[in-house]
Symmetry: C2
Subunit: 335 residues, 2 copies
């Protein structure tokens, strides 16, 4: 294993130390170097009069979630150990820090550990008189039930939920309204991914799974959980079709509708290849009469250095489009 790390056991702490220093104008990282529970908040704290947004999950998916803390998106993020849910003692203070009196929305990806730990943390925060609502993101159409998950997994569509709900909060929506916007995104976003090569968790030291020479895994999870099937290596056009067809089948898009198309890199795939997949996916959508009105291409929900990509499609309406376009200023997304 070759990684730019010191002690693999301290990988998350060391990385967050650099992250905090590089983005001190946007974020504050709490609990570094064993000083307490680890969580990330906006520099300057909660915004008076605004519903707070909190998300979190295992590390190794950077920039998710800490990279999306800032104006127009999250107020706090909670990074667990690599591919491991954050604990309630981390999540609760993050929820409290995000509260400015109008309540907090917790955005949770659908993994059993995340669900349980957020539930406990929400109860603890409510006991401290913070009003909390929770939404569960489950955009991955690859499999029903999976390693770590009952029901569908939450993957790259989480970025759309965080961005759009964040903009609704800035707009002044109350907690029920922000929650409704988040649920609308969840109801209309679907994803599916492919792995070409596995990643290596630092403290494990060997690849999370084995793919044979010339073999790829369609429907891979962001922790390397099994997907739908392993198939021989194929062209970008063929692979993209294997990702887009199940999304379209599930989302039931009609000709004339418009979408946001997001091609996400898993961490180890060159940007040039992501644009090839984007181009192929766009063609498949346009062939169905669907208009690609907004686009995002890049490494946003990664699996360490996994080689591969995922495609996410979000059905847009005027409201979602306006909220997507609203200004955002975070470490990883800025416009």
């Amino acid at each position: 294993m070759k990684k730019l790390l010191d002690d693999p056991e301290n990988a998350v702490d060391d990385s967050l130390t650099g992250f905090a220093a590089a983005h001190a104008d946007v974020v504050e990282v709490h609990g570094l170097h064993g000083s307490g529970p680890v969580y990330v908040t906006r520099a300057g704290g909660a915004v008076e009069g605004k519903v707070g947004l909190v998300s979190g999950g295992g590390s190794g998916h950077e920039p998710l979630h800490a990279g999306f803390v800032g104006d127009g998106m999250l107020d706090a993020a909670v990074p667990g150990a690599v591919f491991t849910s954050p604990t309630p003692d981390q999540i609760t203070p993050a929820i409290q820090a995000a509260d400015a009196g109008r309540g907090v929305l917790a955005i949770v990806k659908n993994y059993t550990g995340d669900i349980l730990n957020f539930e406990t943390a929400v109860e603890l925060a409510e006991a401290e008189d913070v009003e909390v609502a929770t939404v569960v993101v489950n955009d991955d159409v690859a499999v029903e039930d999976s390693l770590y998950t009952a029901g569908r997994r939450g993957v790259a569509g989480t970025v759309m939920v965080e961005k759009i709900a964040g903009a609704a909060a800035v707009r002044g929506d109350d907690l029920a309204a922000v929650t409704a916007v988040a649920e609308k995104v969840i109801a209309n976003v679907r994803s599916m991914g492919v792995a070409l090569e596995a990643c290596t968790v630092p403290h494990v030291g060997k690849p999370s799974f084995d793919l044979a020479e010339g073999e790829i895994e369609i429907g891979i999870g962001i922790h390397g959980e099994p997907g739908r099937h392993r198939v021989p290596m194929a062209s970008a056009t063929e692979i993209t079709r294997l990702l887009v067809d199940p999304i379209l089948a599930d989302l039931d898009l009609a000709a004339g509708e418009r979408v946001l198309l997001f091609v996400n890199g898993m961490g180890g795939t060159p940007q040039s290849e992501l644009y090839v997949v984007y181009g192929r996916a766009r063609t498949l959508l346009e062939e169905r009469g669907v208009t690609v009105a907004r686009s995002l291409v890049g490494n946003y929900v990664t699996s360490l250095e996994m080689q591969g990509a995922s495609v996410t499609v979000l059905r847009l309406d005027d409201e979602l489009e306006q909220l997507w376009d609203a200004p955002v200023r975070t470490a990883a997304m800025h416009w």
Copy 2:
């Protein structure tokens, strides 16, 4: 070789097709599908009354350079084949397209092929009455003379040259003044990189070089050209010191000075590791009494899916800091 591509021979064209569609609000890509010389311009063309900026080089370093075309940075970019200089017949129309009557600055990375082809293209553009100045970026302190290069190589510091000279052009500087700003950046920026694993050029189909298990290359070039030495895999702290010490020796920074610190990913290294390197590099600078006033961390000048990183340090003054902070709106840099 597993890559998300169709025909490897069409990799650049297929990728630019997706790039053009995803960023049609920012860029226009000319010459796709064999329709003519390939180059990228701002959507809407040159800006009246502003000096134009053009850069270019081999593909495979995305988002460099096409990702930096847009408001506040480049007016045109010229992508060659992977790791291959663009040709004069591509560069000349890009220079002409960038000209709005106040002349054009060509920003060239110091590789023999790029230098020669830009020289020819500049002569052709001048014959068409475009005033052109050229600067050569040579920030890599790893080696003097190298495969493909006489003198130092131009690497990640190119991003700083393009951003800051771009802001000077927006400020209204004439061609001589924009050129002087670019030269000031070049005089004050230094970089050095490390490779943990090689990349594979699509149409070659095998890794560009071999690194043994547990071996890394210090001072690697962005095409996999040899660096200073191969050493056994080491900790992030030790590797970062091997990159930062030669930069500091060359830049001759004094206590009390302030810098921009840029940790660049080569394409296949997780963002979490880049932040570890950033944190270590920052500590080394602060130990010398140098203030890190601005930061950039991410994949900006890549080598396909190479695993590794580079460190870039730019000595700042008030002018460079203001120009760095000025608004920018491109596919890959936006604030």
